[in-house]
């Protein structure tokens, strides 16, 4: 990941008030979508070899560690963000610009470390989505459904990019 050994906070920033304290890394299992996306983005093909890694049972537990231990780092989804833990801005290139995660920056793609949440459904052998499944998907794409998505602290889908399988909303109904 980096040519230099980075173990302590002052390895990252000599002026860090945390000085020579080690930073434990809290994360989910590397098989989760979150961790896969992270590794794909910043360390493709490399394993996580750092010491002091703690695998947590849930995203909220990762964030909780970062809230409680002042020297901790963590990787979690923005949906689990809490006041006491700081989310760091990221940059695609050296020197910035560094983009903080927000609904706007995630939706417009300027925040680099985002991923899609895929909804996978089963179709019949002719590729036709079953009626009750289609009804659920249309609800998911409706205003009410996207409100629920927002309440779950996910970033709603782009309303202009309706999947063709759903048809088109015309005068308040799906056609």
């Amino acid at each position: 990941m980096t040519p230099e050994l980075v173990l302590r906070w002052n390895d990252l920033d000599p002026a860090s008030p945390l000085g020579e304290e080690f930073f434990p890394l809290y994360m989910r299992d590397i098989r989760t979508g979150t961790m896969q996306r992270l590794m794909e983005w910043c360390m493709p093909g490399e394993p996580i070899t750092t010491i002091g890694v703690f695998v947590e049972p849930s995203p909220s537990s990762v964030v909780n560690a970062c809230c409680a231990y002042r020297n901790a780092m963590g990787v979690s989804s923005t949906g689990a963000a809490q006041v006491r833990a700081r989310m760091l801005p990221l940059s695609e290139a050296d020197g910035g610009p560094y983009i903080a995660p927000s609904v706007t920056t995630i939706a417009d793609g300027s925040y680099p470390l985002a991923r899609s949440l895929n909804v996978v459904v089963v179709t019949d052998k002719d590729g036709v989505v079953l009626p009750h499944v289609l009804a659920f998907l249309r609800y998911l794409w409706s205003e009410d459904g996207q409100d629920v998505v927002g309440l779950c602290k996910l970033v709603p889908a782009d309303p202009t990019q309706v999947p063709p399988v759903l048809g088109e909303p015309v005068d308040g109904t799906w056609r």
Partner: protein, 443 residues
């Protein structure tokens, strides 16, 4: 890869919603098939789980005691001390309350829920840091350690997917009720949706925790668990007496009028000399406060009195409890000494203080001490251990004398042997209906 990226791997991976129909894809198979044991660690049995749950309650007490002592020691801020004392009193009493509920799996899940919610409320929200400022680190870290401990325990029972589901249930509940002050007394039955309840039932029914037992064996096992829980609670009950006394003093000191009269001086040892005058000035308010605490103290001491017959009947608790009660008495001595200093330091020009309030406090302390001493004596009387038939009579006595707190602790214990034909589910639901009436009234 650029170094700036490695430095920025913190708490930020956003998710967008997308849709991908997949033709001909097989539906995922459920992990637990018919007859499959769902408990992760198949070696663990119910008794071990019960012991682990009790051990966690003790561990939680240690963590809270350690953190609170570090926050309160030499702390001149009265409000910080008062809130810390209230937090530990509520948290620890809740944890022991859970540990004495009749259903082992419910105990575990309730402990998980309470500790997780406490972390949301105090740590993640930054509330602990706002209140205790640069002293907040011990409580933030120890609440987190409690969460790590209970998670490790739950990992022996639940699969990763089940734990994730449990966390999701709690997070969903919290997202709509994040202002709840009494998180220490929230239970899983309140948090869980139907899906969450089903998850627990699935583990309970398929996990081997409640292996099929014939009726007689089950009765014996349940009776033993009930007795064990009673003694577990009885041994630890004295711990709360001194915290309740402290809570009373902190609440008196923190009253707005008292604080105004004290002219902003925070240190308890400095202001204690002015107490008689202040108590007189704030007569009705103080009276109300004293009565409120008197009820709480009486509930505690009453529980101790009723614990005596049970405690007498079982050996093995004397040594552990003797030291604890001795420690409580030391604390009570200190409080009494504070009162004596208050009397001695009375302003000679101040009007005579009403003796009633102080006398009431003194009587309260004396009563508590007498009860604790009596309980201590009972604990030390190892030569009076009784046989099993006498236990039944004593249990009946305890049952007859039950009050709100007893209902919460011992009624469940003593009712068990005669009602163990109830199903597991009904026992679980009783566990979730802990009566809030005897909660300490401290925030």
């Amino acid at each position: 890869m650029a170094a700036h990226r490695s430095a920025a791997i913190v708490l930020a991976l956003a998710t967008l919603v997308a849709l991908q129909p997949l033709a001909g894809c097989a539906a995922p198979k459920p992990k637990g098939g018919p007859g499959m044991r769902l408990v992760r660690d198949e070696r663990i049995d119910r008794k071990q789980l019960e012991e682990l749950s009790n051990a966690f309650a003790d561990r939680y007490f240690t963590l809270m005691l350690s953190a609170s002592e570090r926050v309160m020691r030499d702390n001149p801020d009265l409000q910080q001390c008062r809130l810390m004392n209230g937090l530990r009193l509520l948290g620890v009493s809740s944890m022991y309350d859970i540990a004495t509920t009749p259903d082992t799996l419910t105990q575990l899940v309730d402990q998980y829920v309470v500790v997780t919610l406490q972390n949301y409320f105090w740590v993640d929200s930054g509330r602990a840091n706002v209140i205790w400022k640069d002293r907040s680190r011990p409580i933030e870290e120890n609440l987190r350690r409690a969460r790590e401990d209970i998670a490790s325990l739950c990992e022996r029972v639940f699969t990763d997917e089940q734990l994730l589901e449990l966390d999701l249930q709690i997070a969903t509940w919290w997202s709509t009720r994040s202002g709840a002050d009494f998180v220490a007394y929230v239970r899983f039955t309140e948090v869980a949706s139907a899906k969450g309840q089903a998850l627990i039932e699935k583990v309970r029914d398929g996990g081997g925790l409640l292996e099929p037992l014939d009726r007689a064996t089950e009765q014996l096992v349940e009776a033993q668990f009930a007795y064990d829980r009673s003694f577990f609670w009885a041994k630890r009950l004295p711990l709360f007496a001194n915290w309740q006394v402290l809570a009373l003093w902190y609440d008196i000191m923190a009253m707005p009028d008292v604080r105004r009269a004290l002219d902003g001086v925070d240190r308890v040892t400095t202001v204690v000399g002015s107490l008689p005058t202040l108590l007189e000035q704030q007569g009705p308010v103080v009276q109300g406060l004293l009565q409120e605490y008197q009820r709480a103290m009486q509930a505690t001491t009453g529980a101790l009195e009723r614990a005596q017959p049970l405690v007498e009947a079982v050996g093995g608790v004397m040594q552990a409890s003797g030291g604890t009660i001795g420690k409580v008495n030391e604390t009570l001595d200190k409080v009494a000494a504070m009162q004596a200093r208050a009397e001695a330091a009375k302003d000679p020009n101040a009007p005579p203080a009403k003796p009633m309030e102080l006398a009431e406090v003194t009587a309260l302390l004396a009563e508590t001490r007498a009860t604790l001493t009596e309980a201590n004596r009972a604990l030390e009387s190892g030569d009076r251990l009784l046989g099993s038939t006498a236990i039944d009579q004593r249990v009946a006595t305890v049952q007859a004398a039950s009050d709100a707190l007893i209902d919460k602790v011992f009624w469940r214990a003593t009712a068990w042997p005669s009602s163990c034909t109830a199903t597991t589910r009904s026992r679980g639901s009783r566990a979730g209906s802990a009566t809030p009436s005897s909660r300490p009234r401290i925030r």
